[in-house]
Amino acid sequence: MGEREELYRLPREELLSGGHQGISGYGGTIAVRQALKALGPNTVIVVPASAVATVGGLNTSTAWRIPFVHSLFECAPAMATGIRAALEIKGKTGVTLVSFAGDAGSADIGFQSLSGAAERDEDIIHVCYDDEAYLNTGGQAGGTTPAGAQTVNTPQGKPTGKKDLLSIIEAHGAGYVASASIAFPLDFIAKLRKAKERKGFRYLHILTPNPATWGFAADQTIHIARLAVDCGLWPLFEVEDGGRRVTYAPVRRVPVADYIRAQGRFRHLTGDQIAAMQAQVDASAGGGR
């Protein structure tokens, strides 16, 4: 089936209403919209303190058309686990339980509950949407912020590298682990559909560029997300019961410099520093093509 046909087969229904409070060109809500095309209405979503949690609620209004639980920062996977247990006791089957957390809510402050749920093989899907900073509180650096990126609290660039949460969750022995990108919606949706059909703990990690904190114009969000994949810094793959598969390989890799130079947060990096990043990408698995 071609790309066009696949897009036509997706449900038109919007389970996150327009009019939400996300900033213009925000990658997080692109990820939510695309995810809901795969997850469907029979889903309960738990979102911890984060930008995505904030944009869907205002005074007495909600943008969500599925049950939405705003959890504390540390515990979205634990809450999803508890809701699953409650549904089981009530005899309700066929509900997809998703904890949908930012990178801090997954890799840093939320890590213990994520790790616990993965280790216990809880019957939930965790999606980490990764904007590589603590967006909701002003864009501070965190574990998944890449080396060199300027943020409000790393004005000279982050000295240490990006925490590899995908490998960490894979090391927990999770049945399904996959990376994704908002620039490749059909790849993301296919992975979520596969995850939805499975039982036990499933993990997806989607890169969601953000214009203001990364330093690019709001119309470039998808373009930047695509460059991350096409330069080899954000490979698209899945690991199903231990079997690893690349789901998209760029025909020809674009230089890492194209990705780096397009973002204000890396503007201070020298040519040598970018060449070192390129060498790292080339040396990594599948590199040098």
């Binding site: 997706l10 919007e14 009019g19 213009s24 925000y26 209004s61 119309d219 998808i222």
Partner: protein
Amino acid sequence: MKLPTTPGAYQPGNMGVNPRTAGWKSKAPVLDAGKCDQCLKCWIYCPDAAVEVTADKVRFILDYCKGCGICAVECPTAAISMAGV
């Protein structure tokens, strides 16, 4: 037990009724229908559910659109231009 709730509050998707975001934009997308081949890329990439597809034709919901311009950049046939509002 039924817990008390605020009347009218938190109806599914009620943020989309009379949205306050309509006035956020400085630019809005304009479709050149003759160039559009209904590929749905603008629809799947929009952050704001502001592209509606009816009878296989796309249309912008300007109350939801924040004028980011992603649709114009991603349209493969350059059928969308951004105009000041």
